[in-house]
Symmetry: C2
């Protein structure tokens, strides 16, 4: 017999209540005092793996022992995405309402593959996505929740391929035309990954240059399409980005939509991050032109306080999407679907199994309300712009891209360097900023990430967590100034000896 009294089936409801209270208490405490943990985990590869037994337990263990190991071994290896000083990548939030939504979903454990297998899961998904659509100002259209924007964009490109005809669904792509997709140099890697997966290949993606503000150049797009047609390619799809991952630049969707209309191409918009800005009326412009897109993805799990994963995919041609994916074996046929009275969401994507993600989204929208959500997004953008203004005002820092929303790309660039060749100066700045990033992240009091812009190493500060306040942004800025000054002083003194600091002024 095991170390604890194991029931024949599952934990008793009374025990679940006791343990559930414990976990809720832990989370309440976690949310109340996030600053007690370093944002970026302070650990080394293999630490957790070595701390846990190499073999599974034969006997069950009491929940108290499991939760004790959770706090003892797992928490020290967590990078705290739900921490208010998480400024890396895109800062996200699991809000309280969303956390409770996930808890209820896990308890119901429905698989919403068919309307029949949980009518409320399907209909709440329709309602919540229609609410969200109205909140960001998209026209009425089909919506479906997917796990990630990576999958949503893959499905969009598959629908575009289906719309292009050529019996790809039946015959596959071997023997067919060489299809080509267009996206900007700044597009998310998931677009190229989708092209590889779908059998288009990396050659099937042509990356269009961007302007000085990292936005796709529509004239270059039109020219590329013309060239490709002449060279025997079949252009079929353009993926525009509203909020690129590096700089959150916004491609000129109205002009791109014009090109797509003229050329007969499917327009998909990846608005995973910045699409959410449109919840605030003064940022509604972010989705300008998207009313003409064939499909759009925006991510509530990025910037709408919904725990990961929840990606909202809209498509103006549900029938095409369905044609790209629907296969209904006998064991999944239902009378309701045959009467076309309901939607079976399994027909519109890759996955058959579909967890009940709409519940958390619906709870988040209701808890905050449209105005409450807009107020929080507005505040994050205010904080981003405030930080950008500090960078601009400081002689030893500079911004490396515009700041349309809440993400700032910048670097330390001390002005007291002797004149020298541009590339040597940039090499020094790259090394300095890499070390600055590591130093600030090592404090545990802020976590930033980086990117590379026109060859230069750039720091990225992304505001998006619900609990982030001006004080957190101020602390990050103080740390950046302090460590930049220290590292620069050390770097100048020791530059002759240090291979990592190639400045030789």
């Amino acid at each position: 017999m095991s170390a604890h009294e194991q029931p024949a089936t599952d934990m008793s409801p009374e025990e679940f209540r006791r343990q559930g209270y414990q976990v809720v208490d832990w989370i309440a405490d976690y949310l109340a005092h996030p600053e007690r943990y370093p944002v970026l985990a302070r650990t080394e590869p293999g630490v957790l793996r070595r701390a846990l037994p190499a073999e599974p337990p034969a006997q069950g263990e009491p929940m108290a022992a499991i939760l004790a190991d959770f706090t003892r071994h797992i928490i020290p290896g967590i990078t705290h995405w739900n921490h208010p000083a998480f400024f890396a990548y895109f800062a996200i939030s699991g809000s309280a309402a969303g956390i409770l939504g996930e808890l209820l979903s896990a308890a119901l454990n429905v698989n919403g593959m068919l309307w029949k297998t949980s009518p409320a899961a399907t209909e709440l998904e329709e309602v919540a996505l229609d609410w969200l659509r109205q909140m960001v100002g998209l026209p009425p259209q089909f919506g479906i929740i997917m796990d990630t924007a990576s999958v949503a964009s893959l499905c969009a490109i598959a629908a575009a391929r289906e719309a292009a005809g050529d019996a790809v669904r039946r015959d596959g792509m071997a023997g067919g035309p060489r299809l080509r997709l267009y996206t900007s140099e700044q597009a998310h890697s998931s677009i190229e990954k989708a092209a590889i997966t779908l059998g288009l290949g990396q050659q099937g993606v042509r990356k269009i240059p961007v302007d000085a503000e990292f936005q796709m150049d529509p004239a270059a797009l039109a020219q590329a399409i013309t060239e490709d047609r002449r060279a025997g390619w079949r252009p079929f799809c353009v993926v525009a980005t509203v909020g690129t991952t590096s700089t959150t630049s916004v491609d000129p969707v109205p002009a791109i939509a014009e090109v797509c209309a003229r050329e007969g191409l499917w327009l998909h918009v990846d608005g995973a991050y910045a699409g959410m800005a449109a919840v605030a009326s003064e940022f509604r412009w972010a989705l300008n032109g998207c009313e003409r897109a064939d499909s759009v993805v925006i991510n509530p799990h990025k910037w709408l306080f919904t725990p990961i994963d929840c990606s909202a995919f809209y498509c103006r041609h549900a029938a095409v999407l369905r044609r790209a994916f629907s296969l209904v074996p006998e064991y999944l046929r239902t009378a309701e679907a045959e009467q076309a009275a309901v939607r079976d969401f399994m027909d519109y994507g890759i996955q058959l199994g579909r967890r009940f993600r709409a519940l958390k989204l619906w709870m988040v929208i209701r808890y905050f309300g449209g105005e409450g959500l807009a107020a929080r997004i507005r505040e994050h953008i205010r904080l981003g712009h405030l930080f950008a203004s500090w960078v601009d005002a400081h002689p030893d820092f500079e911004r490396l891209a515009p700041t349309p929303f809440s993400v700032v790309c910048f670097r330390a660039r001390p002005t007291d360097l002797p004149v020298g060749p541009e590339e040597e100066r940039d090499a020094y700045f790259d090394a300095l900023n890499q070390r600055l990033l590591d130093a600030v992240n090592a404090t545990g009091r802020a976590y930033l990430s980086h990117t590379r812009l026109r060859g230069r190493f750039a720091l990225r500060l992304a505001v998006g967590n619900l609990r982030t306040t001006e004080a957190h942004v101020q602390t990050a800025w103080d740390l950046l100034q302090e460590h930049a000054a220290r590292l620069h002083a050390a770097g100048r003194g020791g530059a002759q000896e240090k291979a990592e600091a190639p400045w030789k002024g």
Copy 2:
């Protein structure tokens, strides 16, 4: 101002604690009295949609109001997958330990795309999948958690395509050979859907006939490959199934592995359901031959009491899988990955975003232990076999397939029919069983699904929920007998008038 006091950021920790207790109480009560709800939702299309406002709320609302609407409007539209009398499709369980795991994951809200973005998420995934691998007796190999078996199988086939060479990753499939995949007539629809998605087309899938027990015929497989090579196809992959969706038949993996080795094809095994039976030592045979497979998927969310979604994907060629999917933009580069000291799971699949699914799986394995899990799987198989024995012993019922695990395929087949043409008798039985299914499901006391086997409408009873006891199976059997007798008596009397009951004896 809203109807309730809205904080500037998120719900206060104190309020989260209060609301969290409420939700835990509701779930404890739900788990204690699942029988108060009909298993299959009693609703009509559009009921929930019409009950909710067409427009999103502008102001936030108190959590109490949201939870009240959850129980008033949403619960009546739920089909209760976590109900002990859920016998449809594959019966699943969100166990208490798994539910608490999901709750903690939602609160941490980490994105485990990189080791660095939460070292514990990556390492716990390695540990939990290695434990599970040992529990089912697979050899040491790379493991990764995916959301669903649909996605895991798609990734497996993509890896097989990559292994086949031909620069598909770079050049796409348009100019390449016509690749062909083999799977049985009884394989899951996700395999064909993956082929469509990957650009192989439905023509790129050849379905191999099955024997009398619904198992792939390896001689027919070998012959098909030979024929196809002659006809100019390039065979590249075989997908065998351990536990097909209709009947849970097990393809002869050792013989199929032999064919794959001889022909140089990638062998992927879809063991989503029955792979879990191998946790019980006397069912270890289910995965026989899988030690030679190139990849295998088994689903903890199907039959290991882990809330949906959690699919365990194993692959003996991690480098090939990585080659099929890896693209690392600058903003995701880390020192740890460049030193090859850690695994970044984003490199091994489609999705960049990865929620912390390992936590619930680890908690489930620890809470039940290997022996506790085996005991529960054993009991489900005992219940399935018991039900099968009742069917076999009843003169007016018959089984339509073997019952290797916990799923029984059967039909009512009253013996008191006058002699008549076989097809007319079968048409009558089909109509009778369709009505029987609807009648039993309408009671709300059991929910079964159906399939079609050799043209015949078959009922399916799947045991898999943690709380299912012999009494639940007995009730389902009583309902089936009672309604079959009633419907048959009515059907014989009114057959002349009823187009749905074509029997004219």
